[in-house]
């Protein structure tokens, strides 16, 4: 009740200011008159009486002020005054305002743009109900240092049926099927799932229904769920699609539902077009009946509510132990879980946080620069402030006014910054590496805008602090006293020096990070991949498995394809192979050396497996080191042979000749057989440029064909000419075969380092901005110090100092600041370098080259920045300097 009255009374005095003030004056003058009358009755003159009352009761003008400022409305009023005054002051110096606001806008804009990425990728919860209950289930073999592998189908089934901790659980694998019958034959990205997939994610279809448990069994009718995008693009958003039949890999599937476009699966590397039950997949259904050996199936689960992670661990340990007892191949393996969010963002978390930290440092440097500018202004405004203090303004009142000014500046910068961020997000989004999860959800939402707003206010506090403190410390007696020079007292000067040192320190940290990433990126891109990508073009030809169902057919097709392709002009160097290095790595298979115990009893050795046609090695430029390559006589009727890579030879045949030895291995479709090693070829980077070459196994394509494969051609023809030749030849054999995933190998290699390139570019950019800002900061401090010391320099020159020594003095000042900054910066930079060590390739975080070059660059930039003020100092005319003031 009284709160309402208080608000009402405050509003009245705000709105009817004149009347309220008039009333107060009248009341006070009544008070004054009555008191004076009393005194006059005692015989004083009227003037004496009035003076006496004022002495006793205080200054009545001050009283009015006191009453006015007692209510809450006065706070609003002074804020308004401060805002108006602040705006006026900023308008009076448009140059300063523009520079400060733009610096801030860039800083806040860059921060907001990076934050919008961090927000979308790391902070925003997964787009499912109760996302914290979702976990990624994997198998690990701690003693062999293996973790994060998928599960085998039988193990998954046991886990699904026996656990009491998961409300729902599902396994899945990525695949691609050929869609024919509606437009051109094309490959559609497919996920094969166990029926619980959608209920784990609590996802509802747009049309129709999701899978039911019966559809997970072998022998049930083939069904498919489409994505909304595929439904719109290929089926014209047909509302009657449910119940219709579509053709995948030349086999009819009945559509049972459509998933909305808002249903994303960021834990899969690409956006998905169709979902089919595992049992209906031509490739993976084979694995359903095999004993648990291949860890191929990714598993997600939803933990029941109220179950702790300790309970989950205990349950999974128990089930893991039981599986190990049941299947020998599961010995030593354990079932692990991690939050799904972590699985998705694990790889990008550090780089993103690194970028956010870097851009934050840039903003801090920008703040230091603005604080410096404000300090110079505060010095030139010291008289104004001194006058206001002398007239009775409290120090807190002055501080509030200055902070308001900074707040206006900050918000102005923030406002322009949001535009910068908006533009930045639009520019950034297409540049983002495609592997970044949840890219589609990057946008400027309320959280991002809120971040920008809070950041604007926080920065204004940061850069406002130094000038406000120095103003609050000003002494009107000194400032206004006789002969006061417009000189700076020691306090602000030290503050300015500290700011310059801080800028150098921050720039040192940023530049070291950027330098290390650049060195690492240079190392990464100069890695010899082990093959020669130049002039090599690849394309994938896939065979629908219900039409081409036997390995014999596959082999016949590939032989026909190769014969026809090599007959084309300029296409002599053509080959077909399994997964290509870096492009679509890898099939990792277990193998055993015949007549030799495994290195770790009970666990098979593994190597990446590639079936390749004879000319593959010459097309790819992989050198033969010993023995022979494959030739046309290696067919399915000749004895099985294999080539091994140098790494495999070194690791498993350290002191003996591998030629003639036998290895037992095989891909499911072709069966496990014993193969004779006929040659050793050079190592290649199969997984990525950043990963050391591992052991490789090559087998003749004719002995272990696949349902299609990657066609590689080394040719001096253009990429498009090569591709149309591949297309023409393929369609000459079968017009329903899709030719997809066309790429030139150099381009694939270029794209494979998109993430490190992106972060190196951005960090390099931030480093450059930091360097420029730091240079501007040093320039500001030194040129200000020179202009303030004109008098002193004049005296020195008059007393005979040489211009060179004056210049040396100024340069020494800069050097001192820079060196202090570097001295503080080195340990900070080393700490930062250790934090990002995981992102570095072949570069030590203590890389002496970077750690030496960055300080040198800073010293050089510092010298450059102080050169102009130093020259000005040198040219000081003693007569002019001593006459001024």
């Amino acid at each position: 009740m009284s709160l309402l009255r208080n608000i009402a009374a405050g509003l009245v005095s705000l709105l009817q200011k004149k009347r309220v003030q008039g009333d107060l004056s009248e009341e006070l003058s009544d008070f004054l008159e009555r008191a004076a009358e009393e005194k006059m009755k005692k015989g004083m003159s009227r003037n004496e009486a009035l003076r006496d009352v004022r002495l006793e009761r205080g200054n009545f003008e001050a009283t009015k002020e006191e009453v006015r400022s007692a209510g809450w409305e006065s706070f609003v009023e002074t804020c308004w005054q401060d805002l108006r005054f602040g705006t006026r002051m900023l308008r009076k110096s448009p140059g300063f305002t523009a520079v400060a606001a733009l610096t801030l806008a860039l800083g806040i804009g860059a921060n907001t743009a990076i934050f919008s990425v961090v927000n979308a990728v790391l902070l925003r919860p997964l787009p499912y109900a109760n996302p914290s209950q979702l976990v990624f289930v994997s198998e690990a073999k701690p003693e062999a240092g293996i973790s994060g592998l998928g599960m085998s189908f039988p193990s998954f089934i046991e886990l699904q049926d026996d656990n009491r901790v998961f409300g729902a659980i599902a396994g899945f694998g990525g695949h691609a099927l050929v869609l024919t019958g509606s437009g051109d034959p094309s490959e559609v990205s497919t996920v094969v799932v166990t029926p619980g997939f959608f209920s784990v994610l609590a996802a509802e279809p747009l049309l129709g229904r999701v899978f039911v448990p019966e559809e997970g069994k072998r022998g049930s009718a083939p069904v498919v769920i489409l994505s909304e995008n595929l439904w719109r693009d290929r089926f014209g958003a047909d509302p009657g699609i449910v119940g219709r039949s579509i053709t995948l890999d030349m086999r009819p599937y009945t559509v049972i539902g459509v998933m909305p476009a808002t249903f994303h699966t960021p834990f899969l590397s690409q956006s998905i077009q169709v979902w089919i039950p595992l049992a209906q997949d031509p490739l993976f259904s084979v694995w359903m009946t095999r004993p648990p050996q291949e860890h191929w199936m990714a598993v997600i689960a939803r933990v029941r509510s109220g179950i702790s992670s300790a309970q989950v661990h205990a349950e999974l340990d128990a089930i893991g132990a039981r599986l190990a007892g049941e299947f020998p191949a599961e010995k030593g393996w354990a079932i692990r879980t991690e939050p799904l969010q972590q699985t998705i963002t694990g790889d990008v978390k550090l780089p993103l946080l690194l970028l956010l930290g870097a851009v934050g440092l840039v903003l801090l440097i920008a703040c230091a620069n603005i604080a410096n500018l404000l300090l110079s202004r505060a010095t030139s405004r010291s008289k104004e402030i001194a006058v206001r203090i002398a007239l009775g303004a409290g120090k807190s009142r002055i501080a509030r006014q200055l902070l308001t000014e900074c707040g206006i500046l900050g918000l102005l910068g923030g406002l322009i910054g949001m535009l910068v961020a908006y533009w930045g997000v639009a520019t950034l989004a297409p540049l983002l590496p495609s592997g970044l999860p949840k890219v589609h959800s990057i946008r400027m939402d309320g959280w991002v805008l809120g971040f920008a707003f809070v950041l604007s206010l926080a920065t204004s506090l940061v850069f406002g602090l130094a000038p406000v403190l120095s103003a609050a410390g000003s002494d009107p007696h000194k400032e206004l006293g006789e002969g006061a020079r417009a000189g700076e007292s020691a306090g602000p000067r030290r503050a300015r020096a500290c700011l310059a040192v801080a800028e150098i320190t921050l720039a040192m940290v940023l530049l070291t990070g950027a330098g290390l990433l650049m060195r690492s990126f240079a190392q990464l891109t100069s890695v010899n991949p082990g093959f020669q990508p130049k002039h090599v073009v690849k394309a994938m030809v896939s065979l629908p498995q219900f039409q081409y169902s036997t390995p014999k057919q596959w082999a016949a097709f590939s032989e026909e394809l190769m014969t026809r392709l090599q007959a084309q002009p300029g296409m002599r160097d053509s080959a077909i192979a399994g997964p290509l290095p870096i492009v679509d790595c890898c099939v990792n298979l277990a193998f055993q050396i015949v007549g030799k115990p495994t290195l770790q009893p009970g666990t098979p050795e593994t190597a990446d497996y590639v079936p390749a046609s004879p000319s593959y090695f010459s097309v790819m430029g992989i050198p033969l080191l010993r023995g022979r390559l494959f030739n046309d006589s290696d067919s399915d009727t000749s004895s099985p042979v294999a080539l091994i890579s140098e790494a495999l030879a070194k690791r498993y045949f350290p002191n003996e000749d591998p030629l003639g030895k036998h290895l037992t291995f095989g891909f499911p479709a072709n069966g496990v057989v014993s193969r004779e090693i006929v040659g050793v070829v050079g190592d290649i980077h199969d997984v990525s440029l950043g990963k050391e070459p591992g052991p490789m196994l090559y087998v003749p394509y004719a002995q272990a064909p696949l349902y299609g494969g990657e066609v590689v051609v080394r040719s001096t023809l253009s990429t498009s000419a090569v591709v149309s030749a591949i297309r023409a030849v393929t369609h000459g054999i079968d017009k329903n075969l899709p030719v997809t995933d066309i790429a030139a190998l150099p381009e694939v290699l270029y794209k494979s380092v998109a993430q490190p390139r992106f972060r190196t570019l951005l960090l390099g950019l931030f480093g450059a901005i930091a360097l420029i800002l730091a240079a501007v900061g040093i320039f500001g401090v030194i040129s200000y110090s020179v202009s303030r010391r004109t008098h002193e320099l004049g005296i020195r020159m008059a007393l005979g100092a040489q211009p060179g020594s004056v210049m040396g003095m100024v340069l020494r000042e800069t050097l001192a600041l820079t060196l202090i900054g570097i001295a503080i910066g080195v340990p900070c930079a080393i700490v930062t370098a250790r934090l990002i060590a995981r992102l570095l390739f072949n570069v030590s975080p203590y890389d002496p080259f970077t750690l030496a070059l960055v300080p040198l660059a800073l010293v050089a930039v510092g010298a450059l920045a102080s050169y102009i003020p130093a020259r000005r100092a040198m040219k000081v005319d003693p007569v002019v300097a001593l006459r001024c003031e």
Partner: protein, 110 residues
């Protein structure tokens, strides 16, 4: 004793003003003089603290002001207790008595 009202126990000025107004409505100067008389000249009130207190009590709804014409054809603002103000005065007087008695007991005990 000092003549500064800030030397009054925090909040007592409000109570004393309410007490002054318990008998009859009064203008600002009258309140000041009455307070000084009643305290035997111990309190000398500065206009600033008085008028801030008037504004505060008015906004709290404990007193209300009314403009009246004076003998020499000026306007003066007379303050009067509201019902709420009278209640507050009673409760504060009781509370004050209790506290003073308690403090006195403590001081005597030592």
């Amino acid at each position: 004793m000092s003549d500064k009202p800030s030397d009054l126990v925090q909040g007592t000025l409000d109570m004393l003003i309410l007490k002054t107004l318990a008998l009859e409505p009064m203008h600002g100067y009258g309140i000041a003089v009455r307070l000084e008389q009643m305290s035997g000249g111990v309190f000398r009130l500065n206009a600033g603290s008085l008028f801030v207190a008037f504004q505060r009590l008015q906004r709290a709804g404990l007193i209300k002001g009314e403009w009246k014409a004076t003998e020499n054809s000026r306007r003066a603002k007379y303050y009067a207790l509201t019902d709420q103000g009278r209640k507050r005065l009673n409760s504060e007087t009781r509370e004050w008595g209790r506290q003073v008695a308690a403090i006195a007991r403590i001081l005597e005990a030592s």
